[in-house]
Symmetry: C2
Subunit: 337 residues, 2 copies
DNA sequence: CTATTCTTTGTAAGCGCTTGCATTGCTGTT
DNA sequence: AACAGCAATGCAAGCGCTTACAAAGAATAG
């Protein structure tokens, strides 16, 4: 235990010990190649000896790069975004970046405050799920030179970059799939969120165009849970015509619905088919395996980080380098529909 | 659109516009009560007009308070900690704090790098799930004057503060419960994590002390998932004596196990009883409702934030104000055991 | 009416880094 | 031998805030 264990080492402590200027130590840390190997070695030892940890508040202030990425999601307990968060967090920490997690709440109520917090910390990137409705906020984000990435969505007019897919197309594709499988009476169980509704609308439009008939339709509070699938079952049974396939806006809903249907003695998919959304880890493990829509959430995370990384090296944001990545989707054909 | 829309406002822009010094504006922002109301009003307008957002990197550097709290958890996709994260995030953002989320990985492989990142950003608080094994890291954390809170656990010798409960006691309590219900042949399905194992050991010790018999026992990779419960079922059936109750280290495991048991025609709990752990949202919604152990994860989050808040106002950390909060646990008696 | 205390504001010295520019030796050219 | 070019380092001016200390009035006390 050295005499001054309380004093925490600064850059110039290291510099003094290594017999160089603070500039050189700073360079060693941020761009090791530019310092001579012999010097580098002395600095390395000085860092080791002092237990130096850079102060990134100071560094960020001076360099105008915070190495902080704000990640705003509605919630994490039932969320389909978790894989995106994990992928992003993994990819970022390899680069010395750090994730500031903001939970905006189902109705995005906290979003303005969190965006302000991100701007105040001069986040290098702000990653949103979905878009920003409030025009004032949009304007502020557009003015700021942080990289703003909207994910899980492809807005018509994006603020900056976007990584996602078309929810409308998902709805249409599911409608086509369901028809092709020969189902005649679909019923939609949809969460009360903009993206779930876009999928629903896609489905309905396609279905009506192709068959002339309107699918059954119910909207549930967001986020949807296992138990909500259970309770929705009764409602479905009361519907005329009796549905032969239920399209759920989340795998959770599908899971609960199937559990309830099975314990009521129905066979899935023969008596009632079910389609989910999200391809959550348990989907493939269900009995029967769930037919659902897979989004490569991890890829969304990785693409977003790739954009950030590209920007980090380049100059300030220019209107022309707006990026838009469509990660698409895939219908995972299980045994439930 | 003013002529200099690109220039982002600083404290002295606001000060000039309001006709006061930067010190006064700073005070208005950090302690509104000390400035006279008339002045405050002028500052308010100046902030509004300039669209000023404080630079918290600069602020943090000067004040030595980052208003950043690092939160380190193994993962978020299957995790029981998510409620803690949400509660913490909510409580913190009310105070203008921000959460830095670090995913350490199931084996805590990333923990050292993340702790270093937190220290580098001069986090005001570092919240860990479980403890830190590496002694060098421990030492560094002890030396630092960030508040370090270990959660979901009550280590013998904690680094600083701890908010959690005794996993051993949970195991013992479950053992007592199971005996009291009349079960004779328990089987333990345990994730390969220190905390799950502590529960297991508690159970086994208590069971042997009371009955002289050793429970059946299997360890599964962490994190445990729905499908792992399903596949474990076969293993259980092969065990002699045939278990009459299975104690799972997570609700996921229990969920999968019950689904498989039911589809094999067993009645739960009559043919096979099941106990979970975690009281995840779906536990109460299962059929039969899951008997499980409830930990008030949200309370863990709130207590941790309360400690942080108390520290924020007080002086530097002193050995004597180590805090230890036992949030306890509760066996939720459902219908599965 | 003077002395004392409070309230409100200003002055200015940092906080611990980064980085443009200048400097110092070298190596290689002509 | 003189000089251009380059690699490695140092100097010092910030980055945008906070806060100890001082100052100036206003309020209260004696």
């Amino acid at each position: 235990m050295s005499m001054n264990e309380k004093k925490i080492a600064r850059l110039d402590d290291v510099a003094r010990l290594a017999g160089v200027s603070t500039a050189t130590v700073s360079r060693y840390i941020n761009a090791p190649d530019v310092v001579a190997e012999a010097t580098a070695e002395r600095i390395r030892q000085a860092i080791e000896r002092t237990g130096y940890i850079p102060n990134l508040l100071a560094g960020g202030l001076a360099s105008r790069r915070s190495r902080l990425v704000a990640l705003l999601v509605p919630d994490i307990t039932h969320s389909i975004y978790n894989l995106t968060i994990e992928a992003m967090s993994d990819a970022l920490s390899d680069d010395g970046y750090v994730v500031m997690l903001g939970l905006t709440g189902a109705d995005d109520a906290r979003a303005p405050a969190l965006i302000e917090a991100a701007l105040a910390r001069r986040a290098d990137g702000i990653i949103l799920t979905g878009s920003v409705a409030d025009p004032r906020l949009r304007a502020r984000l557009e003015r700021d030179d942080a990289t703003v990435i909207e994910t899980w969505n492809l807005p018509n007019r994006s603020i900056d970059a976007a990584v996602g897919f078309s929810h409308t197309e998902v709805g249409q594709a599911v409608a086509r799939f369901v028809r092709q499988r020969g189902y005649r009476y679909p019923f939609l169980l949809t969460a009360d969120s903009p993206r779930a509704k876009a999928r629903r609308n896609g489905f309905i439009a396609d279905w009506i165009a192709a068959t002339g008939a309107s699918p059954g339709d119910a909207v549930l509070a967001s986020p949807t849970r296992f138990g909500m699938g259970r309770t929705a079952f009764a409602q479905l049974r009361a519907n005329t015509p009796a549905p032969d396939v239920v399209i759920c806006s989340s795998d959770w809903l599908a899971h609960g619905l199937i559990a309830e249907a099975q314990s009521a003695g129905l066979r899935v998919p023969d008596d009632l088919a079910v389609v989910g959304f999200g391809n959550l880890p348990f989907a493939a493990e269900m009995q029967p395996a769930l037919t659902t829509v897979r989004i490569d959430g991890a890829r969304i995370g990785r693409e977003a980080v790739a954009i950030l990384r590209r920007r980090a090296t380049g100059a300030a944001r220019k209107p022309e380098d707006a990026v838009r990545v469509d990660v698409g989707f895939e219908i995972v054909v299980g045994a439930s529909a």
